[in-house]
């Protein structure tokens, strides 16, 4: 009789442990989702103005004419560690209505902003205005200057400059 009671107690205790273990165990269900994102190369160039003008001046007093600064904003997305380049190329010499010309290499520029550089204009080879490593945004300014020479013939001269932003 005593043995039966002991065994009954043991079985009851075991059942309680089993039930309580099931009640307190945390159950989980898991699922996986695959995420993909496509990031393509992009290049966006914004100039503060599309004209640069030089006022007439005495060559002795102002040997170097200066135009208002042009703001330049560059946005690119490219492969990591790729070089992004911003270049300028003149369509030809500065020319007036009488077809008189001023050599385009008389046009130079200074620049501010990280990655931007000063240079001399060319109509044969694109000149670097900016070089940037990898994608992102960059802002700077470009200020054109024109050598003011006594040898220039009078007139109103113009030239077209093409800016090219390349993100490989």
């Amino acid at each position: 009789m005593m043995t039966k009671a002991v065994w009954g107690g043991i079985i009851t205790a075991a059942a309680l442990v089993l039930v309580s273990t099931q009640a307190s165990a945390q159950v989980v269900d898991t699922k996986t989702v695959t995420v993909s994102a496509t990031v393509n190369a992009k290049a966006k160039l914004t100039l503060g103005t599309n004209t640069a003008s030089f006022a007439d001046a005495d060559p002795d007093v102002t040997p170097l004419l200066s135009a208002a600064a042009i703001s330049v904003d560059v946005k690119t997305r490219t492969a990591a560690a790729s070089n992004v380049t911003l270049t300028v190329l003149a369509g030809g010499a500065l020319t007036n209505a009488s077809s008189d010309t001023i050599p385009i290499n008389q046009l130079t520029w200074t620049a501010t902003g990280s990655g931007f550089a000063a240079g001399t204009m060319s109509s044969s080879t694109a000149q670097a205005l900016g070089t940037f490593l990898g994608g992102g945004t960059a802002s700077g300014t470009q200020t054109y200057q024109l050598v003011n020479s006594w040898n220039y013939k009078t007139g109103s001269y113009s030239a077209t400059i093409t800016y090219t932003l390349t993100a490989p």
């Binding site: 945390q26 159950v27 699922k31 695959t34 995420v35 993909s36 990031v39 190369a41 946005k75 994608g135």
Partner: protein, 165 residues
């Protein structure tokens, strides 16, 4: 001796005969059921994709297929909190290029669902409820579209975990 036997027989008959005259009889039976904790999670999609877009015009790209529909069935201890969480196994990777998983965010709709930002370091709560039940909601993912992201086709894996204590 005879009278003693007669009395015993008479008493026995009375005991046996009595129940047959009862108008009602009651009995008890013990029924036991073991209700254990259960969790079941269903997602409407196993993949989500973000298309390319101009960062200036679409700074947050929504997933192309729209929201993921989520059904969470759980049986838990009374008053216990049932939690659905998600964690990225890694950052977005395309070859050697990496975009942190934290560039993926979501909004939630449905009772218990909350907005969040994906993480690789710890599970982030998608939804939480109290006690057992069947809950449904949706999760709309967004990809933070930056100019600084290197080009490529990126992937990562998210693991959803529904826990019912």
């Amino acid at each position: 001796m005879f009278s003693r036997h007669f009395a015993v027989i008479l008493l026995s008959w009375a005991v046996v005969a009595s129940p047959t005259r009862a108008a009602a009889q009651t009995s008890t039976a013990t029924l036991s059921a073991n209700i254990g904790a259960v969790a079941s999670l269903t997602l409407s999609a196993a993949t989500i994709a973000f298309p390319d877009a101009d960062p200036d015009t679409v700074p947050l790209i929504p997933a192309t297929a729209g929201p993921i529909l989520i059904t969470a069935k759980s049986r838990a201890t009374a008053g216990a909190q049932v939690v659905l969480a998600v964690q990225a196994t890694d950052d977005l990777r395309s070859g050697v290029s990496v975009i942190p998983a934290s560039n993926i965010t979501w909004t939630g709709s449905g009772v218990g669902f909350v907005a969040g930002t994906l993480s690789t370091s710890s599970p982030v709560t998608v939804a939480a409820w109290t006690g057992s039940g069947i809950r449904s909601g949706s999760q709309q993912f967004f990809f933070r579209n930056l100019w600084t992201h290197p080009t490529g086709t990126y992937t990562l894996t998210m693991i959803y975990t529904l826990s019912a204590p």
